[in-house]
């Protein structure tokens, strides 16, 4: 195969899900024999040598893939591009969930949602991370869509022993379960609900549970509120915010935690759930947006996230050894569905078929 298929992305950074995916997709495209480069408006300092500014985008590529996860002027550039236009949709958090917390993000997600609607007719084919994301585009009248999970390699480093030792020591001392959540501290991830659930677990079941939160801060206003909720719930000594951690430490948390709990109100895919399953950490999750599709048969999916329901589920997993073992085994099987080799092949097959065929309107 010859020709060129480039990617356009508003911001490219080396350590986020969309950034990693974009680099891996470039490998797939090059593997198919295409010349393929990444063009961005903002580039992290670590990847400037490996990417290009958008003004260097050649006008005559055979196809241009737009990595769509936020509103950006680049969407217009993609929609007006002369070659074939393919979208890779990673979801845009609804404005109701983030707008009040972050004024700039409010403007960006509003623009993104408008562009999503406006450019339906400009898109020849859209590849979505999840069926949930795909259903959003289908509802907007996108002519051709399919679901292929994001390309990622689960955090598979050698676990940081100090993390495992620390969690084990805490478990031995208190006898209570060590509960883990991994994700940016943002309102759509509902950390405040997680705190309420763990407090309920402690109150109702008398379990000396501890919540470990791994992830960077999102909007400062939300972090402040979560801190306030932790203080109000008298949970300051039972919740630890670890911030961004190394791959080794992250694997340590997945290996040592008793249960991974996700009560997000909105997820477009949720990579940490798969990482937890991969490492044998039992998953309890609130079944909303794309979470149910990602967890599949690999974890316990709750239809509501009342703190008492979540606490009861956490207690059950912590106390039931057989359930824990079955969840660990089922989670690992489920995580296998998202193995990098599998998804890479799916992208290769899909793009090969699409790009070697006739251009479909538009």
């Amino acid at each position: 195969m010859s020709g060129s298929v480039h990617q356009l992305v508003p911001t490219i950074t080396p350590r986020d899900a969309v950034g990693n995916h974009t680099f891996r997709l470039r490998e797939v495209l090059r593997g198919l024999g295409y010349e393929s480069e990444i063009f961005a408006m903002f580039r992290h300092g670590d990847v400037t040598a490996d990417t290009h500014l958008v003004d260097q985008l050649p006008p005559d590529a055979d196809a241009l893939i737009y990595q769509f996860s936020i509103g950006s002027p680049l969407a217009t550039r993609w929609a007006q591009y002369g070659g074939r236009r393919i979208m890779n949709y990673h979801n845009i958090t609804p404005v109701e969930l983030v707008g009040k917390w972050d004024g700039l993000l409010d403007a960006e997600v509003r623009l993104g949602r408008e562009q999503m609607e406006h450019y339906a007719s400009a898109c020849e084919h859209a590849i979505c991370d999840s069926d949930f994301n795909r259903s959003e585009l289908d509802a907007l009248g996108y002519a051709s869509t399919e679901t292929i999970p994001v390309l990622f390699d689960v955090a598979d480093a050698r676990p940081d022993k100090s993390v495992i030792t620390a969690l084990d020591a805490r478990r031995k001392k208190s006898g209570g379960p060590q509960i883990l959540f991994v994700g940016r501290i943002a309102p759509n991830k509902a950390h405040h609900d997680l705190v309420a659930a763990v407090r309920t677990l402690r109150d109702v079941y008398g379990a000396d549970a501890h919540l470990h939160v791994v992830g960077t801060d999102g909007p400062a206003t939300y972090r402040k509120v979560v801190d306030g909720i932790v203080a109000h719930a008298d949970m300051a000594s039972h919740v630890t915010f670890h911030g961004s951690v190394s791959q080794e430490a992250l694997v340590g948390f997945y290996r040592a935690a008793d249960v991974f709990c996700c009560v997000s109100d909105h997820e477009g895919f949720c990579v940490p759930v798969i990482e937890a399953m991969h490492h044998g950490c039992p998953v309890v999750a609130y079944d909303c947006t794309a979470v149910g599709g990602t967890v599949g048969d690999g974890g316990l999916l709750l239809a509501d996230k009342h703190p008492l329901t979540v606490a009861t589920a956490l207690q059950r997993v912590a106390a039931d050894r057989e359930l824990r073992q079955r969840l660990a085994a089922a989670g690992q099987r489920r995580a296998g569905d998202f193995a990098l080799d599998t998804t890479r092949q799916r992208f290769a097959d899909s793009l090969d078929t699409l790009l070697s065929g006739e251009r479909r309107l538009p």
Partner: protein, 325 residues
Amino acid sequence: MSNSESDAAYFEKVVAEIEAEAERRTADGHYPRALLRSLDEEFRRWIPDTGRAAGVEDAIRSIEAAAYIDPGVPVESNKAVGRYVKTAVRKATYFYHRHMAQQIAALGIQVTRPLRLLDSTVRQLDARLAALEDRADVNVAMRDELAASVGDPDLSDAVHAAITDHLRDAPGRTLIGEITRSGPVAHLVDAGIDAYGVGPGLERHSSLELRDESLIEHLDVLDAGVLGGVVLIGATDRFNLNEQLTILDRIATRVADGGRVAIVVRDLDAWRSAVGNVGADLIQGRPLHLETWVHLLEREQMTVDCALPASADEPVACVLATVER
């Protein structure tokens, strides 16, 4: 049956058991209900009204941060020799890049100055507008005082029964507002309805949930579709037309599909005799006619199930409606 299929069935069974246990504990009251409610209130209290004000400030700060440019050009390269070449070029051209960076930083600061001016002007305009609104709305204190003297109407057993029956299948909690006493809430709770009351000045009660806040402010912080029912009482006698329409607008979105709405409104003559001539002249609002409430509810896509008019023996009228989306 494969492992995956048998696990899926087993996990479904476990989830059903978890839900049943949670329901049982909820029914028995075996969970920190008051604490969870206070956490929920605490969270809602701190949800920002809007992120836009912070957005302007954030935007200005990010421009200022971006304006300080590092004149040290990156030297990473895919080719081994590239790094040495780039390092040499960087050293040779550092004076030039530093000069450019200083000019761009100066430009950035010049760009943010008018933005700060604009932000400050908008804030001043907001403040002046608020002051103008206060000035236009003269004698608010006197009118509030008169309105506060209008107590909640007494409901007959027949009206109580009609409202209770209507709310029996409400798909969630029922809000009663804006009340000045606990009676209407106690009546519904005794009848097995999951109800709570809202009104400024409501005192705490040992067994009832009463919230000391204004109805409009309370409705403003609720999420869409969280209420199973609303009983509007008291506000219909004291609030001006704009406030009553605002409340109806909030109710239309906060009540879930299939939710129940009851509007209790005092007969106009009974209201006049309750507020007296001074109140009738000076309080801006007055009870709307029964037909007006029916019209307004239908305009909000609600199905009016029943309209009970006032009579010589019954000084209040009542409209019962269901939210249909």
